[in-house]
Symmetry: C2
Amino acid sequence: MPAKLNKKSRVVAVISGGLDSTVLLYDLVAKCAEVKALSVNYGQRHVKELEHAKSICARLKISHEIADLRGIAHLLAGSSLTSKDIDVPDGHYAEETMKATVVPNRNMILVAVGAAWAIANKFDAVAFAAHAGDHAIYPDCREEFAQALDKAVSLADWHSVAVARPFVSISKADIVRLGVKLGVPFADTWSCYKGGAIHCGTCGTCVERREAFVLAEAKDPTAYLAQPPIPALK
Amino acid sequence: MPAKLNKKSRVVAVISGGLDSTVLLYDLVAKCAEVKALSVNYGQRHVKELEHAKSICARLKISHEIADLRGIAHLLAGSSLTSKDIDVPDGHYAEETMKATVVPNRNMILVAVGAAWAIANKFDAVAFAAHAGDHAIYPDCREEFAQALDKAVSLADWHSVAVARPFVSISKADIVRLGVKLGVPFADTWSCYKGGAIHCGTCGTCVERREAFVLAEAKDPTAYLAQPPIPALK
């Protein structure tokens, strides 16, 4: 049963500083009574996304905390997102090579920590920007996993917290369209997994970001290092 | 469906350095193909339990890692176990005052991190020493919570990991009896929530520890600061 958020809801939003979660944050601030933001440092190489998250929260004047999980990064070895020995693959998400970006059990850890902070604040829900385009290569993006996890969260404390995924049935292009309506400062969001000076334009998340703006017929204000044709749009 | 462990099982044991999880570790080492131990530093005031965990693993010659979650301790405020501003209550666990020892969503965070490490190692299961005496004041010790969480863990990755709670139907006194059979060095385990030089003998976990040895009719080698009568045994 997905959580229904309303004007009385007090919500912890788990945000990365990326496009999806920034639009989520703007949407929640518009719709709910109180919003606090939580970001996670898990030793990701694109740690600069956290600076973007911080700047967006300052702009919205909402409280922002960082859950520093670097103390467990050594346990999550084997992903290109946390290991410097493994390259971030280029290409479209749908490709087999993208499995290198899977961090073991990342979503459960994020939900568990977000829910803990929501419980400590006696808030109603913890919200994530999971969307319809989240990919089958990530086993912890599956609906049956989400259902089991949400049930566990609701039972984790006497003060019951719901898990909200307001974007779960919409596409990334829909998220861009919503962001345009809400006046989201897209140029301040960070998606690229490589974490360079500007977006690379070629890693899975950059390709997906570029594709979403094209499909939404919206202006993409992002500076990219390269913009090769997007396979799915050919 | 509880996980069945056998001679072929490769298991991550989440251990605190306390009595229950040390007996669990000895039991798993006796029964399974391979065991790795994981302890968690979540900013608990009784952090010395981690030294005990390390020493026990060295004795058993098994690999031991610490998940350092101090970077999220500020999000879990409000428990006497993590906050220096709140006293650890004395008395029996069953009492209302013990609610001060609840850390928000602790069990889900522990299971999520343990499962992540089990997935990274391609192990079969992550095991915990939850037992029949775990208390209703801890909402995340409830059976319905455990069931939902276990299902989520099994779906969290293509490599499915089970959550094992081999002691879930036995009492702490039964755990002491098993520990005696397995030759567990009880004097090397640490239970006290206060984390002083020796066990206080009066906090919830000390009272429970003393009680278990009495009920098991086993010699308790622990040095306690005080040993007032145990209410439940009067």
